[in-house]
């Protein structure tokens, strides 16, 4: 290789360095020239002006130092306050003493299994020395996951009260800020304070609500900087939790999240970080009964009117927060109705308000009222006669925020897995409205929009995801597309043949058509029942569980029971 080529290659590899050195050299030479010229000029001054310059130097220097100290102090104080001391880093952070949290263990209703697991944590925190004696390590993190409103925060507060330690509470979403690195800075400040509290009080609980906001898996940044900030926050949390383990200063982090723990950063999930994971799900029937008893005991209610067992059955899939809300709403309705006590009527109204939304002041014409009545009657009859698990709890043609009318049907017990018949029944129930309108008026309305959407959704999932299509195609075709898709959604690679897609779409339509046919057969057969139910609904506007049961009994019909 010739020297010139070598030089060229060297220049190509190091051009930035060369450029910087050249610029620095020019700047250096220029500075030396300017400085020497300045010094020479100063030395050549006449004595009066020289004296003037020299005598002013100490004063200028003194004022420069004073100014620098003032500005440096202001900057440092502001910077410290902004990032670490109590400015941005303190936003959303609440420091609470354990006695101020004041939620007793016995006040945590239901979730016995969860409480048992959490109690173990409480015992470990209370008696840290015995654990250390046998060489065990103190639990550093506890992750509470589950649907919203199921008592994660409540349980965390109860743990803090029971252990008697200071409780620092932050919301994950408030930790992240508009400034890159602010999230990490806030976490540093939070744990610094927690360690100080632990030193003073023998321990501290840091509760991070919505921990998923700062614990999502770390990813590469797409060039906008946002992911870098999020990654920094996760790294900081990891560092702080590791740091705690090394120092052993009895700071325990309790994180709460609604998302699946698989959606959080795996590093946070391993032992030594969030050591324990507790899932807090929706309450069981027994738990709901206990919860209703607890919340009703806080208000004045009529025990003869309210059967807690019935209410608990009606409140299937309700979270503890929902149950608390029902009790509170019922008491408000009772006050508005000038009643001394809450009765079953107020409980029902409160549940309707929470489930179905507030009533809307819409005036129906007679024809519209009739259309809506037949529409809802179609849903109700199909649900009552064909649904294998659900009871019909309410039928209404009073307009509310969720629609012009509603039929509320659900199972008495929560079930976590459903079979083909269940989904087919769901489709049939949603199509009941369409068929009823068609049979009665020989036409259909746009009121079936949401019903059709629901029916399609169930049918689509049955075919594309759960292998329930009539053609015999099996597989989760939806997952196939989603897992290979571009995360940014710019394009989705086509892994399915057009023929397969066509077949799957045909299956979806086949299910809809089959269900439609079945529903049409049923409602044609039960034309009298449809007429009767629709008229009752039109006249009374709202039918409750007992009234619905009475109508079907009168017509000699029994609901379908699952074998």
């Amino acid at each position: 290789m010739s020297d010139l080529r070598k030089l060229k290659v060297y220049f190509r590899l190091h051009w930035i360095k060369i450029l910087l050195i050249t610029l620095a050299s020019i700047l250096g030479i220029f500075t030396v020239i300017v400085l020497s010229a300045g010094v020479t000029a100063m030395l050549n001054l006449e004595s009066f002006y020289k004296q003037l310059q020299f005598s002013s130097i100490p004063l200028q220097f003194f004022f420069s130092i004073v100014t620098a100290i003032i500005f440096a102090s202001i900057y440092t104080i502001f910077h410290y306050w902004f990032f670490f001391g109590g400015g941005m880093t303190k936003l959303g952070q609440k420091k609470v003493k354990s006695e101020e949290v004041n939620i007793r263990w016995k006040e945590v209703i239901g979730m016995d299994e969860v409480k048992r697991e959490a109690w173990e944590v409480v015992q470990l925190l209370k008696d840290r020395s015995s654990l250390q004696r046998v060489g065990g390590r103190v639990i550093k993190g506890l992750l509470l996951s589950g649907p919203p409103g199921c008592g994660k925060t409540y349980l965390a507060k109860a743990i803090a009260t029971e252990v008697g330690l200071p409780f620092l509470s932050v919301v994950g979403s408030e930790i992240e800020g508009i400034i890159v690195g602010l999230g990490a800075a806030k976490l540093r400040a939070l744990f610094k304070e927690a360690r100080a509290m632990a030193e003073l009080h023998g321990g501290c609980i840091v509760f991070i609500d919505e921990v998923d906001s700062i614990a999502r898996p770390r990813r590469g940044d797409m060039g906008f900087g946002g992911q870098m900030s999020a990654n920094a926050a996760v790294n900081q949390l990891l560092t702080e939790m590791d740091g705690l383990r090394k120092i052993e200063n009895n700071v325990v982090v309790i994180g709460a999240t609604n998302v699946d723990e698989r959606e959080l950063d795996p590093a946070l999930m391993r032992a030594g970080r969030f050591d324990r994971k507790i899932y807090i799900g929706l309450p069981s029937l027994k738990d709901r009964e206990n919860l209703f008893r607890f919340y009703l005991s806080k208000i004045k209610y009529d025990p003869e009117s309210i059967d807690v067992a019935v209410v608990a059955r009606k409140a299937v899939y309700k979270s503890p927060a929902d149950i608390s809300n029902i009790a509170r709403e019922a008491s408000i309705i009772a006050v508005r109705n000038k009643k001394e006590k809450v009765t079953m009527k107020e409980i029902n109204e409160a549940m309707d308000r929470i489930d179905l939304g507030l009533k809307k002041p819409i005036e129906f014409s007679e024809k519209e009222k009739e259309q809506v009545a037949y529409h809802e009657a179609g849903h109700a009859i199909v649900a009552y006669l064909l649904h294998p698990t659900d009871d019909v709890f309410k039928a209404s043609i009073i307009p509310r925020s969720i629609g012009l009318g509603v039929v509320s049907h659900h199972s008495r017990q929560e079930s976590h897995i459903h079979n083909r018949e269940y989904y087919l029944a769901n489709i049939k129930v949603t199509l009941g409205s369409y068929v009823a309108e068609k049979l009665k008026f020989n036409t259909t309305t746009s009121g079936v929009d949401e019903d059709m959407h629901q029916a399609m959704w169930w049918a689509y999932n049955m075919v594309w995801r759960w292998g329930m299509g009539p053609s015999g195609l099996k597989g989760n075709f939806k997952a196939l597309e989603a897992s290979f898709g571009n995360p940014l959604g710019f394009s989705t690679p086509n892994f399915l043949s057009e023929k397969t897609k066509e077949k799957l779409d045909e299956d979806v339509q086949k299910i809809i058509q089959q269900c439609l046919q079945e529903v049409e057969g049923l409602l044609t057969k039960e034309a009298q029942l449809l007429e009767r139910f629709a008229q009752e609904l039109k006249n009374r506007q709202e039918l409750d569980y007992d009234e619905i049961e009475a109508i079907f009994k009168e017509c000699g019909k029994e609901r379908l029971r699952q074998p």
């Binding site: 004595s47 009066f48 002006y49 020289k50 004296q51 003037l52 020299f54 130097i57 004063l59």
Partner: protein, 275 residues
């Protein structure tokens, strides 16, 4: 380790910086060579060669010029620039010298047309104050004595032989400045200039008494007839007393020779009057 190394290095620098004001700086010019220094500086930097004499405490500078006054009775611009340059050169020399003389007198003479002398007398401490921005440019202008006089002997005098050079006395300078300020007040101030006719103004400081005899005749009724000439003169005297921080004066004796009115102000009366 690092701290230990930097501290001994920084402390001497800080001490040096703070003591820089106490440095003994040798004066650039000496009194013995003042004449040569002024001539050389004016020649090198401004291309003007003045005639210079140093008496006891007064530096006399002579600039012969071909034209001092223009046809419309204004000071010739070029001459004015030349006077300023010489004044600046002389100031630079006297400022960077120890011990300094007390006064600079610059005389520019029209040696070719009318035989006029334009004389500026400056107290050197006033130049120092002006350089240190302790007094404004206007105030500095008011403190300089400017005198224009006709002297036939100036014609053809390129060496300054017609000048009656003498050492200026501070009190004499102050008396002349008071007279000049009174004159300027009644002739240049738009509030008074059309209403008074001025004659001879003499001021004298003897002991602790300022004596001012001025001929100030009112020729027109003033819009504000409450103006008291004696009081106005007293104010001017007080301004000078304050400017030069004269503390041991007792009386100001003012006489308007045009009206024959006299006024005598004691120190306390003057303070009360001007409060």
């Amino acid at each position: 380790m690092r701290k230990r190394k930097t501290a001994p290095a920084i402390i001497p620098i800080l001490i040096a910086v703070f003591l820089s004001g106490c440095l003994k700086i040798e004066p650039t010019y000496t009194k013995e060579k003042i004449v040569d220094s002024v001539i050389s500086l004016c020649l090198t930097e401004y291309n003007i060669e003045p005639k210079v004499w140093l008496l006891e405490d007064t530096l006399w500078i002579y600039i012969p010029v071909s034209s001092l006054i223009t046809s419309n009775l204004q000071l010739d611009q070029e001459t004015f620039i030349a006077i300023n340059k010489v004044m600046l050169g002389a100031s630079r020399v006297v400022l960077s010298m120890k011990p300094r003389p007390q006064f600079i007198v610059v005389v520019a003479s029209d040696t070719q047309q009318y035989g006029l002398d334009y004389m500026i007398t400056t107290w050197i401490p006033d130049i120092v104050k002006y350089q240190l921005q302790l007094i404004s440019r206007d105030e500095f202008g008011r403190r300089n004595l400017i005198e224009i006089s006709e002297d036939a002997k100036a014609l053809g005098d390129e060496e300054g032989r017609h000048l009656e050079k003498k050492d200026i006395n501070f009190w004499e300078f102050l008396s002349l400045q008071i007279s000049q300020r009174i004159r300027f007040k009644f002739t240049l101030d738009p509030k008074y200039q059309d209403y008074f006719k001025l004659g001879e103004i003499n001021s004298e400081i003897s002991g602790n008494t300022f004596r001012i005899k001025a001929y100030i005749e009112k020729i027109k009724a003033l819009p504000d007839d409450k103006i008291n000439v004696q009081k106005e003169i007293a104010k001017i005297v007080f301004e000078v007393i304050k400017a030069y921080e004269i503390k041991d004066y007792l009386l100001i004796d003012i006489e308007n020779t045009a009206t024959g009115k006299k006024a005598l102000f004691t120190k306390s009366e003057l303070v009360k009057l001007l409060r």
